[in-house]
Each structure stands twice: as structure tokens, then as C-alpha cells.
Symmetry: D2
Subunit: 459 residues, 4 copies
């Protein structure tokens, strides 16, 4: 019989029990539920709502349960007891008797689960941030290593201008830096303690919410409004949005790596440990991690949408719809954590084929902008310079020649201002070095950014 | 070492192995994978690609594996073997020796998984249709039972006009009828056999795709284009869209039931077996199933989005991203199946409080339209009739009286055409009976629709 | 003052008026709203609810308004009148006097807008189907033209096996065929007439819904349940889902074309008319249409999800939330229609660089499967054949040689069964011709599929 | 001919021109584009890349264009010039001649649009924050006014415990406070200047990015990596996520208000100016704003998902897909801004029916927890207390009596510890006053929270 079953005449329908239980997944909150219960019962004792002896028995009983779970002697969770909260309370009462049945004093599962989730996510988000930082460190290292490796930079997947590979890695370092920032903001905003809000309106018993919040290390103390505290899942939405954006970054890097690894580009190898083969075609080596990352980005988006849709139009305060939050959160966390770790290791196995990259970047049309800018420096208004170089490229395309195959005379037919200097422009190394602007791709700039990152406290 | 590992120098990274294995969930395709392999090997024998003896050993070995899985003696699936296909092939080879190592002849996991999925979904969709039909039957039964129970009909959650409860249930019968139609269309469109498409381009071996398709009961024979066959997941998207729409219907009924069960309406009771209580508040009886249904609708939407996002912009043909399809599909199927069954049982426990419903429907302002239409029948243009009755209602609101408390003289001050007949209009039973139009809420119409449904072949 | 304003004391807040008006976009329903009103008033006359003279004046007035709108003399729609329905009714009444004020007899905007939308979408979906068929015809033509042009087929964006370009185009013909099927199913399922359902419960006036449904050409007659008829938007969801899936197909083709047009592949040119340049880099020619298509696929997904979220958990029947449907529907329709037309024209400008494609497909590792299958034909169990060829490929990779550079003796060291025949296998033309299986990439099969499509009634 | 058309042989296809132009919506960036161009050209002059005279002519020309746009003399934007950037540059050149054709020196539309968007969003977000603060101020005012108005608090839409209406309003004040925080974080994170990044790799010309960033007031200076700067849309995603969460809050308040305004609750009136009537049913007064808010929440979610899907898997750097960002951003901004303003005004018209609210809260079962907690204070372990009170409630339900109708003797049969004091517990005023815990619903706590908010700098 359910612990809440006083007024009920019949048992829960079995199918309903199956879709409404949550212990099969919320058991992963056990450690935080126990920490919470210990802080709660200590407070109850301090306030004279239970005896010191009751509190001592509860805390030591809870510690025992924690050990049992961790060493595998706890046994199976009971789906009839619905969730981790009821499983622990029930088992505690079996273990220590009456004191256990006082644990739920001045507490509802509504504030309890909200507190567990925040405690759990606080730990998880800290872990996420450290994994992001760790990935950034690898990116900075690679940026330093490849500060001078030249490759084509793309827009619209068309060759645009030469860049160095180190510059590319630093672009991702920026993205993950913003991701870390979003995670930190989420962490900061959730650092309030809901406990003591009860089901909706706090309690008629003289509890001390500040004591509990402090015991549990909530930086901003207790939530200021009980109705909000139990119906708020903003922190989950904000986290799932932050993860979605960061997964999008991973999906973009994946897209690039897949392209670079195609036979058409042939620019990189990834370690065998991060690729798989084909059950049919013996020659295949596939960039599975990158593909899975793209696919799992969709999954993580789906989790965000699920929660947004779930919360839309819910009346205040708690509604059972909100139980759907946990599986979606856990799924996004697990996916994201695994991929952060894998990417860090995978990109360390990346081997660029520098010759092929350089050859591709040597296509002189990538230096068309350099020519236009040379004209600007020699007095041609930019729009005019752009137009003439465009015409020059058009002619080359039609006649099947490359820009650097033109003689000066031929060039001057379309671009009269051209001098012999112009013929020197079609060198990708010169081109990247010339972009020696803050934030630019010149190796000097890349090294300066590397130095910037290395000065960060988390590096 | 992976079965595809011929060209690989190192083993798969452990974290990668964990995120890329699928046997932990695709094992539920075992029955269909075995059916497929049996049809495939029979075809190989027919075509002389393996001996009859090889085929016989394979089929009997596969049958043994099937029994082992079903009676629990198969043991754990091996995550190193990645998926159900490799697990079964590998185990078969261990069981029957060399013939097992011929099973994958002229087959790729790309066409294999596409075939498994279609076979599996064919069964699942048929089950879904039968569950929808079963829910419709209950709705029709309730519609008959409550063909005369009067309640307020709402628009904008404001009282609109009286309707009968039976009419409400038939509205849902219509929705689920469309849902069944969408499922049937999905089933029809997926009923092609991908097997024989190989990885992308069929095979150089002389296979017979029509034979296999027929053995596996695919109504439309083999897929017509091998590149499409292995990169198509339309059927999954179409199914997840159909389930999303149907879950939306369940979520709308849930919203109504929750409102009806509020203390404010107090119109229905749901059986204790479909509600739960509160761990804190002893008096609570909550409509959890309805709330979970709303919440899970978000989840099912999320699965659809995940797959849409996953498929967007994928180059042809197969990409590993597509492995993300199965967990999302299974999750939506499980959720939807459980709720279809639960709703069928739950609404049978619904007990309307007919007095409260009738009292609410007796608010005379619900019959304001009846009065306007009475005026139309007596020669007042509708727009004028509407305006006068509106003015009458406005006056009542301001003076705190109800329409049926006005005397004829008072009414005539705003509506000069009114006669004593008008005072009779404020009776909800008369009102519903007057809506004796095809599709209307008159009990006679409801009964006629009930008869229509009972004539359906699936009833 | 609003037409419904009888009971209201104050005017609508101006900001509210602005967010709640719909005539700025639903005016595009004008033609269908007029057709509906004409059928409705004819029915009113037939039933004696208005005079024949009233009906004649209304229909001729409505025809005048239609002409005015189409020749630009109607003037601006009035946002204070909220929607196209009220704008037309109000203008009609100004034009013909009292008969106009009878038009709304036995009708609510709830059934009116549901009818307009279905009428409008019936036309639009028919147009969509014809555009899809038209795109398919172009694909079939290209498939015929390129039935023998060889290119690498990809899985995981890695070279898999040679295929012909015609086979690729036919894969898309299949996808669009399913899209057409989904549109037809949607069309069929929506072909019921809601009119006469009133606000929720039909009417107390003796209307004839069958007459109206027939006049408006609704194949399945009137909707069977008035509460469902006014709260149903399944047809919009089903349509947006069908469009989303089809846009996904366009996005996949876009992804391929972008890749093929990269300098790395260099396999195709697209007409200048379908590309744009860069304001900075004179050499750029970008595949903008393909990129916009991918981007707009996200937009179309967003519209679907907006509607799914909108409908979730709405109580019966009509709620104002549902007004949000139209802009999302129109946006997806406009996007999809434009892209269907553009793709048809754009792919006609596609010029394959057959030499580069063939060269890429000549990489002998694409024929690794052919070798494995040759071994199977010569008695080696497939799994063993796969493993040996894999080992051979691995050795080649490590020693920097290609499969077709091995001598027979070298090959036999790993694959003892190899004969001189094996050295002939590394020819992509031979390879595609060998895949002469139903649905396969052999030119003969492609031509046979082309013939199949040409036999379709819509071709 | 397009400004970038140097190398192009044919004009853009007309349909393509129509789907790829953006000036029809990005014209709203005109002010920020002009500000940017002025800062840019000043920098060009400072660096000697144009003359001071050129710069002066450009800035004064740009000022003229700005005035023309604002006083309506600019005329129509030219869709052939694609976007606001090209429209302004082209018009400037027409106005001032050659200096205008130098404006695009060392600039690409890629960094230009990224800069415009950030400048525009900086202003918009500041506006959003001020609108949120303004709504919070109204909520605090209402909280103070209704600090003692008692109503039922709900969980699962079932009566839970009495709360005061002021407490409810403060719950929303908390939600909007987090929303403001998210907007501030977004603002802070986007406050970097992309200009000078060029198309991808900065420029070979000696520009000064710090000068431009300072001129434009970017708090954190120029973006640190040019490849990231032009391919980053995180700020848009983060903003759309923040708006989605806040719209969800508005949708929840809407859901409550709709319920409260139903005839069943009858607890509030909303001003006529924020409701509309029915074209058919004269008595209707519908909470349209609340319904539209729920519906538009779906729309805003759709915009977020459109952008997430759009960005997924895009290769670096800029791709044309990203042009789809602006319409989605503008749509969410417009929707959210309008609703923030409307809500602030609408809730000021809310009139609670305090008698009906109090009557509903007087249902003694809402005080069941109070009784259980009384028992706890008198030594009964909570779980036992809960069970006994539950049994008492169950008996009352079955016998059709209310808790406060029991005699002490009857109560003692189930709850032996009960004393006469228990009979006093069923008073909702006493009940709310007893919840005098930090964050609780006691009027004293509500007033203390009101004081807290009034101390905030933005109040």
C-alpha cells in the first residue's frame, strides 16, 4: 500500500504504476537525497521537532543505506514505492524504526525532488565545466602546434582565403569558452535551496530554512517564494539549452572533420580507435564518432523541446507532468559528458596531411582578395577593385587558366594598375602572414591568442 | 576484434565503444532479425550461393538462438559486437560453424537494419491500430451511455452552449479514427523490402530480392532503388509524426479531465486505481495519468524533433547519425502503447456527477444563441439579433441578474420581437434537442453516430 | 465597435488589437471565404432561412468584393474588424445592406475558418503534388541522361562502391514519390466539410450540411461531429509533417550538391543563376540555393513544432491559441513551393565533370567488396573473404600502395584463392554493370526504373 | 547587376532572388548598419586607408540616408540589392560618388551582419530587460495589495493548501527575475565586436579593430578569433532560449488566469479591453490574450528550434543557411515585447472575487496537512499522522461529510490524540498565517518579500 494511500480504496493500476514510477531512473539521485535528508533531520532536531536521538539514528541509518547502495548490498529498488525518496524513507524506517517515520516531517516530495535535482545538477555542471576546460586546453595545445599549418578557409564550403589550422582550433576554443560561461551562469542561478517550501506554501511547523540551505552549501540561501520553488524547472531548461548550443558546436566540428577525412579532401587521419569499419566493405574506415555526434545533437535538441513543451501552460504549482524532466536531463547530461571526453581524446589523434592542405590552399583564386586589397592600397576604390578582380577571375574560369598563370600584361588588360608586385601575391604563406590583425590568422596572432588562453586561471 | 576489423591496427576506444554500441536497445529486434536471416539464407541456397545443408544449419541454428533468447538461456549480449546483427551472426557461427560465416553473404548491415526496422514496425503499427480501435470502441460505448447527459460545452474555456457528454466522447472517436488512418497509411507506405540493397548498390552476386520480399510478406515487394532503401527513414518520421498527433489528442482529453476533476468543476470522479495521493497532504487525489500524458506528449514531440534534426542535411547514403533513430522510435512506441491501454481502462472508471454538470449547463447565458436564432426564425437579421441579445446579456451582467430571471416586458425593452416563447428557451435539454443537425449534439444525432461507428468493420 | 461587442463596455486595448488581428495574413483566404459564403447563403435560401432575393444579393455582392480584391479596388483591410471573415461580412453589408447582415446566420467563425482553411489547403496541396511530380519528371530525365555516368557512392561520406549518377537521381525520385503519397493522404483525410458545426454544437436552425458540403466539393461530405470539426487541426499538423519530411529530402540533396561543388570534389557546376558571389572575395561562386534550403528546413521544422506545441493540452473545443496556426502554415507552404520550383530548374543546370567523377570512382579500394564477393563465388565463406580482403587493404594502406598495383603473387600471400581474374575487378564500369540486381546501380537497371517511372499516370 | 557579379555570366534566377533577398526584413537593422559604417569609415580614415574627406562625405551621406529612412523619403528598398548593407552602400555611392565605393574596404558582409545583429540585439535586450522589470514592479504592487486575499493553492489542479493571492504574484516576480538575469547574461556574452574579421580571416589592410569596437561601445572589445566571429550565432540561440523560457512563464500565468476566469472558478474578471466576444454567441467574454500567449509560446519555441536545427552540422565559417536567423529572431522579439507590455497592463485590470476565492479555500480538506502537523507537534511521527488524517479524509469522502463537520468524538475514533484545538484548525486565515516561514504564504512573509523587491535598484 502506497505511503500516501490513507484515503484510497483500491490499489494503483499496474500499467499506471509502471509508467508513473521513477525509481528506475531517479535512483541516481540517491547520494543527494541522502545528503538532503541528513541536513533536514539535523535541522528538525535543532528546532526541537524531533529528538537529537531520532536525528542521530536517521543520519547513521542514511549513511548505512548509502554504503549499501554503493557496495551493492542494498538490493533492488521497489517500483511500488515509486521513487528514490520513498524507497529511502521506507528502507530507513525498516532499518531504524520510528525515527525513520519522522523524516518526512515538514517536507513534501515537491520540495524534496526540487532540492535533489539542484544538488545533483550543481555537481554535474561543475563536472561539465571542467570537461569543457579540458577540451579547451587540448584545442589550445593543437593551436600552438599547428600555428603555421596552412589550409583553405571556407565560406559556403567554397575556398575563401588561406588560414592556419591553429586559427581554426582557436575558433572552437572561443565557442567552448562561451559554453563554459553559460554553464557557470546556470550554476549560479540555480544555487538556491527549495527545501522547506513543502508542497506549495511551506509549513506550519517552526523549521529553519537558512540552516538547511547552509548545510547543503547553497550559495544564495533558501528560495524566496515557496510556490515558485516547487514549480520551477528553469534551471533544467537553461541547462538543456546550454548543452544544446554546445553540442551544436561539437556537431559543426564533426561536420568539418568528416569532410576533411573524405577521400576528396584527404587532409586528415583520425586514430583507428575513433573510427569503425564496415561489415561488408573491407576497405572502409568511417568517422563514426563525428557522425554520432551530429546525430546525438538532434537527440539533445529533442530533450530540450520535450521539456519546453512539458512546461508550457502548466498551472501553478507542481503538476505530475514535471516528472518527465529527469530522464530528459539525464540523457542530455550523459550524451554531452561522453562526447566532451571523447572529443578531447579524439582530436589528439588527428594527423593533418600538411602537403595536401597546403596544395589546396595554393589555389591562387584564394588570394583574389589579396589582389583587390593591394589595389586599394594603391588607390583604387574597393568596389572598383573588387569588380576588376572579379572580371579577371571570370576570364580565368572561362579560359581554364589560374590567376597565377597570367602574365603581367594579361593582368593589366583588366587591371591596369597592376605591377610586378601583384604576381607575388599568390603565395598562401604570405597571405596568412599578411592578416596580422588582432583576431586574424597570421601565425603571430595565433600564438598571441594561445598565450592569452594559457594565462586563464583554468588553463 | 571487431568482425569488420581487417584493416584496423588498434581497438576501438572504450568510451567510443560505449556510445556507439546499440545492442543494449536494438536487441528487441532479435525476432525480426532472425526471420530476416532465415529468409535470406534460404534465398542464398535457392540461388546456389550457399548449399542447402548450409542453409538448413543456419535456419535451425537461428531457431535455437531465438528459443534461447526467449527462454533466457542466451546470456548477455556482447557490447563489443556492437549490435543485434553481429551478436546473432557471431553466436550462430559459434553454434553451427562455417555455415554461420556465410550468412552475411550479399548483405550489409545497412540493408539489414533497414529491413529489421520495417519488419518490427509493421508488427508494432498493427498493434497500435488495434489499440486505437479498442479505445474507440470504449468511447462509442460511453457515448451511447451518456447520449443524454447534459454538460456545458466550452470555447475559450468559457461556457458556450449545452452539449451532451456522449457527443464529447464521439469527438475523440473522430480524432482517433484519423490517427488509425495515419497509422494505416504509414504501414502501407513502408511495406517494401530493402534487403538486397547491400551497403548502397546491391551486390555482384546473383541474389533474388523478390523471393526474400515475398518470404517476409512485404506487400509491395523489394525497394526499387538501393541508394534510397538504405538511407530512407521516412517511415520512422511518418510514424513519430502520427504518434505525436495522436498523443496530442490524448493530451487534450487529459486537460479536460483534469479540469472536470478539479474541485471547481467537480463533474467527474476517476477510479482510485488511476490516481495517486500526496506524501504530505492526506486529502489529495491527483489525476496523475492525465498529467503524465500531457508531460509525455512533450517527450514524444522531442523524439520526432530529434529524428527530423538528425536526418537534416545528411549526405547520401547511410551515415552513422542514423543509428540514433531506434531509441527515439522505441521510446515513442512504448509511451504511446502504454497510454492507449491505460486510457481505455481509465475512462471506463469515469463517473460523471450528472447533477453538477446539468446545473452548470443550466446557466441561461448558454442559451443566448438559442434566443438569437429564435429571433432569426422570427425575421430579425442575424447580426441584429446577435447585437440585441448581446446587449441584453450585458445588462444582466451589470445588474447581476440572469437571463431567465427577466420578465417578458424587461426583455422586450431590448428585444421588442420577444414573445412568451422566448422565456421557454433557457432549458438545456430543449437546447441540445434543438441541435438536431447532422453532426450535432442532439441525443438523436449522437445515437445515430453511435450506430455509424458500430457498423465499422473493426468495431 | 466590434461586431461581437454587444455585451462589452470598453474597446479592445490597442496592443491587444494588434496582436490579435489576423486579417493582415488571413486575407489570403478571401477567395475560399467568399466561395464558402456563397454556398452557405444559397443553402440558407434553399432552407427558407433567408429569401432567394437576399441570397442573390449576397452572392452578387460577394462576387463584386472578390473582383475588387483582385483588381485592387477593395482598399485596405480593416484591422479593427480582426479577420478576413468580418472584413468581408462588414463590407458586404455596406454594399448590399440588410441581406449582408443575415450572412452569418447559423454560422460561427469557428466553423467558418475551419472550412476556409480546408478549402484553401485542398487547392494548395493539389498544387504541391503537381510541383512534386514535376520535380520527379526532371529527376527521371536526368537519370536517363546519366544512366552511365560513374561516380563514387558514399556511406559515412567515405567512398563505398561505384554507382551511376542516374541511380542517385532515382533515389530522390523515390523520396519525392513518398512525399506525394503523404500529400495525397493528407488531402484525402481533410476532405470533410466543417461548415454547419457552428461554434461547437451546430445550430437550432434547420440547415442542410450535405448541400453545402456538396456545393463546395467536399468528397466525404460534412464532418460527423461538430465538436471535433471546430477543434481539429490535424490536417495542418499532418501537412506540416509531410512538408518537413520532404524539405529534409531537399536538404539532403543540397548537402550532396554543396559537397560535389566544393573545390575538393569539383564534380559539378551549377548554373550562375542559382549561385551568388561575395561582396568581398571576387573569386567566389557559392551554392546559395542549397544552403538556404538546408536553413529553411530548420524553419519548416520550427513551424511544425510550433503547431504541435500550440495544440498540446488544449481543452475542447475552439481556443484562441489556434489562431496561431495560419502564419505557420502559410510560411511552410510558401517556402516549400518556392523550393520545389527552384530545384526543378536548378538541377537542369547541373553539369557533371564526368572525368573527375570517374577518376574518383576508379580508386580500387571501392572495388574491395567485388573482390570479397569474387571469393565467395569461389567458395570462401563471406566472413572469411571479408577478413582477408580487409587485411589486404590494411597492408596497402600501410605500404602506401593501391589494390590494383599489387601483383597476383602479392595478392595471393594474403588471399591464396586469388587468380588472374581478380586483377580485372578494379574497373568501376565493370563494377556497376555487375550490380545488375533489381534496384541496383547497373545502367540496365537504372534504365528499367526510368521506364517504370515513365509509365506512371502523372508522368 | 549584383555588386559581387564580376565573375558571373548570367543574372540570378528570379525565384532565387525572391527567396534569397533579405532587405524586406533586415531593413530594420538600418540604424545599426549606419552607425557601424560611420565607425568603420572613421577608422579607415584614421588608418590612412581613405582620406579624411572621403570619411566626412560618407558619414554625412549616411546621416542623410538615415534621415531619409526615418522621414519616409528614402523610397523602397531594392530587392535586387539583396540586403540592407548593399542597399545602403549603393545608395550612398549614388549620393556621394566615389567615396561611397570605398566604404566596403576591409569589410565583408559576413562581419558586417554579425556586427549589425549584435548592435541591434544589444538595444533590444536592454529594452526587454526594462519591460521585464516593469512587469515585476506591477506584480510587486499587486502582491502588496493582495497580501491578505486568501485562495486555494493547487497542486495537480487539485486544492492543496490555502495561500494568499499576493504570494502567487510574487512567485511570478521570481520567475521574471531569473528571466531578466538570463537576458543580462546574454547581453554580456555578446558584447564583443566582430567587425574587422572580414569574410573569415581579417584583412591584409592595416585596420584598427579596437578603435571601431570602442566607437561602437562594445564593452569587451573586438572578437578574439575571426573565424569564430563570422560563424557565431550563439547569442541568437541564447536569446531565443531565454525568451522561450520567459514565454513559458507567461503561458503558465495565462493558464491560471483562464482557469480562474472560467464559470467554474469564477474568481476573477479581466478588463473588457483584454477580452473579446463571439461572432455567434452573444454572452461570450473570452480571455483571448491569455490564449494567444499560450499559442505564441509554441511559436517562440518553434523559432528557437528552427535556429538550432539551422546551425547543426554547419561547416566553418559562414554559410548562407545562417541568413535564416533574422526573421526568427525578429519574430520572437516582437512577440515577446508585445506580450510583456500587454501583461503589465492586463493584470492591472484583474479584479478578484474575494468571496468566491475565500469560499473555495475554506474547504476544510485543504487544512488536512495542518491537522497532520498539529499531530506532529503533539508527538505523533509524521508518517503515522499523515496516515491517520488520510483515513479520516477517506471516511469523510465516503460518508459525504466535510472534515469540519465531525465532532471531536468522531475525530478521535480515527485520531485518538485529537483535542478540541483540532476543531479550530479548519480556518484558512489561521492556516496561511501559520505558514510564517521564510518564503511562505503568511501575509507577513509576503509583505517582507514585497519590501525586498522594493529595495532592488531597478524598482
Amino acid at each position: 500500500r502506497a505511503l500516501w494511500g490513507g484515503r484510497f480504496a483500491t490499489e494503483t493500476n499496474e500499467l499506471v504504476a509502471r509508467i508513473s514510477e521513477s525509481v528506475s531512473y531517479d535512483h541516481r539521485l540517491y547520494k543527494h537525497d541522502i545528503a538532503q535528508s541528513k541536513a533536514h533531520v539535523r535541522m528538525l532536531a535543532k528546532q526541537g521537532l524531533v529528538t537529537a536521538e531520532d536525528a542521530a539514528q536517521c543520519t547513521s541509518g542514511l549513511d548505512q543505506l548509502c554504503s549499501q547502495i554503493e557496495n551493492g548490498t542494498f538490493g533492488a529498488f521497489d517500483i511500488k514505492l515509486e521513487d528514490i525518496h520513498m524507497n529511502l524513507e521506507s528502507r530507513l524506517t525498516r532499518l531504524v524504526g520510528e525515527p525513520g517515520s519522522k523524516l518526512h516531517t515538514a517536507r513534501s516530495r515537491n520540495d524534496q525532488v526540487a532540492t535533489d535535482l539542484r544538488l545533483y545538477l550543481r555537481d554535474e555542471i561543475q563536472l561539465l565545466i571542467s570537461l569543457v576546460r579540458s577540451l579547451q586546453r587540448v584545442l589550445v595545445t593543437l593551436a600552438e602546434e599547428y600555428a603555421q599549418v596552412i589550409m583553405p578557409g571556407f565560406t559556403h564550403l567554397q575556398h575563401a582565403q588561406p588560414v592556419v589550422l591553429g586559427h581554426y582550433f582557436l575558433a572552437y576554443c572561443e565557442m567552448f569558452d562561451r559554453d563554459a560561461g553559460r554553464l557557470e551562469d546556470t550554476l549560479n542561478r540555480l544555487d538556491f535551496c527549495p527545501l522547506g517550501s513543502g508542497a506549495i506554501a511551506t509549513t506550519t511547523l517552526p523549521i529553519d530554512r537558512f540552516f538547511v540551505a547552509e548545510q547543503l552549501g547553497f550559495r544564495h540561501g533558501p528560495c524566496r517564494n515557496s510556490m515558485d520553488a516547487v514549480s520551477d524547472r528553469d534551471f533544467a531548461l537553461e541547462l538543456l539549452a546550454a548543452i544544446s548550443i554546445s553540442m551544436m558546436h561539437l556537431s559543426r566540428m564533426s561536420e568539418d572533420l568528416i569532410f576533411w577525412m573524405s577521400q576528396e579532401a584527404g587532409w586528415i587521419e583520425l586514430g583507428d580507435a575513433f573510427c569503425t569499419g564496415s561489415s561488408l566493405m573491407p576497405q572502409k574506415k568511417n568517422p563514426d564518432v563525428c557522425e554520432l555526434t551530429r546525430g546525438k545533437t538532434g537527440r539533445v535538441y529533442g530533450n530540450l523541446l520535450a521539456l519546453l513543451a512539458m512546461m508550457k501552460g502548466l498551472p501553478l504549482c507542481y503538476n505530475r507532468d514535471m516528472q518527465e524532466d529527469k530522464e530528459r536531463i539525464f540523457d542530455s547530461l550523459d550524451t554531452y559528458k561522453a562526447l566532451l571526453q571523447i572529443f578531447r581524446e579524439m582530436i589528439l589523434t588527428l594527423k593533418p596531411n600538411q602537403e595536401r592542405m597546403f596544395a589546396a590552399a595554393s589555389d591562387p583564386s584564394l588570394m583574389a582578395t589579396d589582389l583587390a586589397e593591394w589595389l586599394v592600397r594603391n588607390g583604387v576604390p574597393f568596389r572598383e577593385a573588387h569588380h576588376r578582380v572579379g572580371a579577371l577571375v571570370g576570364e580565368c574560369t572561362r579560359s581554364g587558366r589560374r590567376l597565377n598563370e597570367l602574365t603581367l600584361t594579361e593582368m593589366q588588360r583588366v587591371v591596369p594598375e597592376a605591377t610586378a608586385d601583384c604576381l607575388e601575391l599568390f603565395d598562401p604563406l604570405r597571405s596568412v602572414q599578411a592578416r596580422n590583425i588582432f583576431g586574424g590568422t597570421a601565425p603571430e596572432q595565433v600564438r598571441s591568442q594561445v598565450a592569452f588562453w594559457k594565462r586563464q586561471p583554468w588553463f
